[in-house]
């Protein structure tokens, strides 16, 4: 009796599986490891929103090669341990064809051994230069290298004949990577760092650091951090009457920064992806179309304009989409097609991957913007 029931159940199951396979092709599964909560949620949250938005859009437009796209998102909370666990789950249980994320460099470095061993392509949304240098077989990234942003700022400083600077960086992955690049590139631009200060991601008052910088011989201050720290710094600088020009990183290239810093943000200069100044770009700009589409769509879904960080996820998903359209969803095919991607007009820049270059961007990926009357303006 029992045997009978089991046999019939099994038959049913098999029938069901076969039937569903006939009715609709297996969805294409890609995984996403994003710091949706936790300290780096300023990265993971817009990235998640973007991925979800694109999933709907792509499926509404008929999917990829007629198959639906399924994005499986796990929150890593910015914690390397959790990222490792989630990566394992994506690869072993969810059998994804490719992974986007993680959001931070640390988490990315933690999951690289796993994807390399499993042979699953990973498109990181983090900026750390060591993610793709040296080039790893399965690892790509969409976020611009910090060094590119640093070079943009140093170029500008040189134009203004400034050669003594102070840096004030946040003590997390973002800040320490920026600090490293700022120190590394200074010499080649003939710049000396006369004051090297640090603040904590949850600090509420940075007057002490700024007073110290005020007393140094610095001619300009470069602050490397993400909201809300730099906004506090801008306000503290104004309070203390700091007169030297203030530069920030692309970490604050969102409207939120202007809102938080208020008047104190006037005149601050920072490198940014083109996304925040999309509508100001000349018609000839090759990225303009993608940028405007992304910004407007994001606004429609989430009531705020798409930002720089969400753009990393946009690029990652769309790069995958292109690769899968060309070569199918086998991990190895995706990897090969990613490496063959040329001239992809994304949000972060124009990507040209190759077997030697898995980052794919140049200094052009950044533009320099300044804040005037509470709005972004391109620095010529």
């Amino acid at each position: 009796m029992l045997k009978k029931i089991i046999t019939s159940l099994c038959t049913l199951c098999i029938l069901f599986t076969v039937a569903s396979g006939v009715l609709a092709a297996e969805p294409i599964k890609i995984g996403a490891l994003l710091a949706v909560t936790g300290p780096p949620s300023f990265l993971g949250d817009p990235e998640r929103n973007t991925a979800v938005m694109l999933e709907t859009q792509i499926n509404n437009a008929g999917g990829i090669n007629g198959r639906t796209l399924k994005v499986i998102i796990y929150d890593t909370q910015g914690d390397a341990t959790k990222a490792v666990q989630a990566a394992n789950r994506l690869i072993k249980d969810d059998n994804v064809s490719a992974i986007i994320g993680p959001s931070t460099t640390g988490e990315t470095m933690a999951v690289i051994p796993i994807v390399e061993a499993a042979g699953v392509p990973l498109i990181s949304c983090a900026a750390g230069i060591k993610i793709t240098e040296p080039t790893k077989k399965w690892v790509f990234k969409t976020a611009q290298n910090d060094s590119l942003a640093v070079e943009r700022i140093y170029d500008h400083l040189k134009k203004r004949n400034i050669n003594k600077i102070a840096i004030l960086t946040v003590s997390d992955g973002f800040g320490s990577s920026g600090r490293e690049q700022l120190k590394l590139k200074a010499e080649s631009f003939g710049i000396t760092i006369v004051s090297d200060e640090i603040y904590g991601p949850k600090d509420t008052d940075m007057t002490a650091q700024i007073v110290k910088i005020r007393g140094s011989k610095a001619q300009a201050l470069i602050c490397w951090g993400t909201n809300p720290g730099p906004a506090t710094i801008a306000r503290n600088a104004k309070q203390l009457g700091l007169t030297m020009p203030l530069y920030m990183s692309h970490g604050v290239s969102s409207k939120k920064f202007i809102e938080l810093a208020g008047d104190a943000s006037e005149g601050i200069i920072l490198p940014s992806g083109r996304v925040i100044v999309a509508h100001m770009l000349p018609k000839s700009d090759k990225q303009k179309k993608s940028l405007l589409a992304y910004v407007n769509n994001y606004k429609k879904h989430y009531n705020v304009g798409g930002d720089h960080f969400g753009g990393h996820a946009w690029d990652a998903v769309m790069l995958l989409k292109g690769a899968i359209e060309r070569g199918g969803d086998a991990p190895d095919a995706i990897r090969k097609e990613l490496e063959n991607t040329r001239n992809f007009r994304g949000i972060g820049g124009i990507f040209n991957f190759s077997p030697q270059d898995h980052a794919g961007l140049t200094k052009d990926a950044f533009v320099l913007v300044t804040i005037k009357n509470g709005n972004w303006t391109l620095v010529k």
């Binding site: 603040y199 509420t204 650091q209 809300p228 906004a231």
Partner: protein, 294 residues
């Protein structure tokens, strides 16, 4: 800019941050004295103060003073509710168990706040303008003076309440001896509820006065709570001036450490000095020494 002006700036900035730590620390001490619990959810009330004010003022367009009033009221209610639902049902549990419950409560409150208001950082308008005020070469914002003033009022009110009102005296009696207090007719249960309500109100007040300067988001509570905890410990978990002094010491040490020694190790410097203080005066800085050796 000479060094003495810089140092004055460090000290004034430090005092302002320290005043916040002091108010948060008072909240820790009040709950600790009535229940022996280290309330790890204390920081979340700081967050609630800022976020609720913002919600009432920016989202519901209420006037700032009224928003502040409502925010303190709601935060106090949340604190009282937390005590009723999670603390008071466990009458005789080990304090450690209750500590874990407060950890759970802190995660829960933070989670709800995140769901309600998202993960963004917000800024509350300054109470009275943002023109810096110069003081012997150091500059402060008008908000700093609000912080000093309100902290002072809180300290005085706290003192008056615990030394001159019947409920306050009863609460102090409970902290000395629970059994004896219940024998003389003090309702111990109510004093625990009161202590949670008062601490929540204090935390919320701290969160509100600091939000215009430092901005606020769903996760500001963790670090501020930790610093407030330090303040209370240095003050020997006293519900009074010791904790206030503890807060100011932590604030000034941080600021001087960042300015004069190393900003990267600023927190470490503050904690190393704290540890030294603890090693040299294991009873806290402001409690009279006892000769007991065991």
């Amino acid at each position: 800019m000479d060094l003495s002006e810089d140092i004055l700036q460090y000290i004034l900035s430090g005092l302002s941050t320290g005043a916040i730590y002091a108010v948060i620390g008072l909240g820790f001490a009040i709950i600790y004295n009535s229940t022996s619990i280290i309330n790890f959810a204390q920081g979340e009330f700081v967050m609630l103060g800022g976020m609720l004010t913002l919600f009432f003022h920016v989202t519901l367009f209420l006037s700032l003073p009224f928003s502040i009033f409502l925010a303190v009221l709601v935060a106090t209610a949340v604190g009282a509710l937390f005590e009723r639902l999670a603390i008071s049902p466990l009458k005789n549990a080990d304090p450690l168990i209750l500590v874990i419950i407060t950890i759970g409560g802190s995660i829960l409150i933070r989670g709800i706040a995140m769901l309600l208001w998202g993960k963004d950082t917000y800024v509350l308008p300054m109470f009275s303008g943002d023109e810096p005020i110069v003081l012997w070469g150091a500059t402060l914002m008008p908000q700093n003076f609000w912080i000093f003033g309100i902290t002072l009022i809180i300290i005085v009110a706290n003192r008056l309440f615990f030394h001159h009102s019947i409920i306050g005296k009863a609460m102090r009696a409970c902290s000395f001896n629970r059994v004896a207090s219940s024998l003389v007719g003090i309702n111990v249960k109510h004093t625990v509820l009161f202590s949670f309500a008062i601490s929540s109100a204090l935390g919320a007040a701290a969160g509100i006065i600091i939000a215009p300067l430092t901005m606020t988001s769903y996760d500001v509570g963790i670090m501020l709570g930790l610093k407030g905890f330090c303040a209370a410990i240095i003050g020997g978990m006293s519900g009074g001036i010791g904790t206030v002094a503890g807060g100011l010491i932590v604030g000034v040490l941080e600021s001087l450490g960042a300015g004069l020694i190393s900003s990267g190790y600023k927190d470490a410097i503050a904690f190393i000095i704290l540890l030294l203080i603890l090693f040299l005066r294991p009873q806290g800085l402001f409690v009279k020494g006892d000769t007991e050796r065991v």
